[in-house]
Amino acid sequence: MTKHVLVLVGSPRGLEVSTSGRYACALTERFELEGWSTESIDLHRAAFLQGEGDEFVSKAGLADLILLVAPLYVDSLPAPTIRALERIAEGRAERDPEAPSTRLAALVHCGFVEPKQNETAIEICRRFASAAGFEWFGGLMLGGGGMPSRRAARALREAGDALARGFPIPPGARKRAGRPMMPSLLYILGGNLMWRRAAKKHGVSKDDLLGAPYS
């Protein structure tokens, strides 16, 4: 029987243009080769829909594997993602304990250079798995604000390969993803330049960018 992977994307920027969506694609590449069927859900939209929006709750229990991919928002998951997880956990409160268990793996990425800053969010995903009766298949943390990196690409490939073959995210992939992609000082200098350029594009001067409207 065809196995099914449900990809829950937690970025408010949606499936197509977000870093989460891009990472989700990289993770699921292998699944298609291994004959899995895949479905992606935009949690930001689904979490605030009623009625038909509840579909993702039942779909979660029917999948063989759930991949949760989300950006780090203030040391945790974005509010709509948490809302969706609350609804899934509540929807599964009356679950059949005899039903085959769904596995859950998570990827959380952040705009800091240190992937380790995602640790609390990954712990929250692990606790969600336990509360909703899913089998925890591990978490992957990526830093660097979505900057392309060979090491991250390799970690995603390794994690996707293992999950598609029915194994948890391997420690090697976690370790590879968990290393900062560049020295912190270089990231600070490059990042600050990037922010200044982005503000300039909107006609915001260097001084205005420091504005404190509630002073």
């Binding site: 408010p12 950006p71 928002y73 203030v74 948490i82 929250i124 606790r127």
Partner: protein, 191 residues
């Protein structure tokens, strides 16, 4: 003399619920010490979720592009001396109701990076920020969830430049909790 202000973000999800007792107790304790308590019950407020657009950093510095109560929440938070999060502990973290308010606090910091200790974080936008107190409501004691929650509060305090941060718990099954809300509040106020 103007009373010192604590801003309480109530992240309770059910009506007549889980966080009401902890909020009431916090308000009482503050008022007894002569503080004003500014309580925002988030489930009653129509706060749009953060869009992750970074406009508050590069387009309208310090101000969220979404013109709703979320802007006022950020203002009331940064004008307070103590920020209290009251929430049902949800998978070790905050409820979605509390989080929708917390996500909208991003305009309070700058986009620029700097070192805080050995880690990279965003630079402060304001001269002062409130101390942070996290009050987690749990059905019963749970070591794992409490550890995650404490860590989350501590991490938030780094990112929001809080001069002080504490966490405590309230158990719905009546289990005794130490430290109590009163004890952590006293510590934060006295420091």
């Amino acid at each position: 003399m103007t009373a010192r202000t604590a801003c309480i973000l109530d992240g309770g999800r059910r009506i007549g619920s889980d966080t009401a007792g902890a909020c009431r107790e916090t308000v009482d304790l503050l008022e007894r010490r002569g503080w004003a308590a500014d309580v925002l019950r988030l489930r009653d407020l129509d706060v749009a979720p953060c869009r992750g657009c970074f406009a508050c950093w590069v387009k309208t510095p310090g101000l969220c592009i979404i013109d709703d109560i979320g802007r006022e929440i950020a203002e009331r938070v940064v004008r307070s001396e103590i920020l209290v999060f009251v929430t049902p502990v949800t998978f070790g973290g905050y409820s979605s109701e509390l989080k929708k308010g917390v996500d909208r606090l991003i305009p309070l910091i700058l986009p620029y990076f700097t070192f805080v200790g050995r880690e990279v974080h965003h630079i402060r936008r304001y001269r002062s920020y409130p101390s942070l107190l996290g009050i987690g409501v749990l059905p019963h004691p749970d070591e794992d969830e409490e550890r995650i929650f404490r860590r989350l509060v501590r991490r938030n305090s780094i990112n929001f430049h809080a001069p002080d941060a504490e966490a405590c718990f309230v158990y719905e099954d009546g289990s005794p909790a130490r430290p109590t809300i009163g004890e952590v509040l006293a510590e934060v106020i006295e420091r």
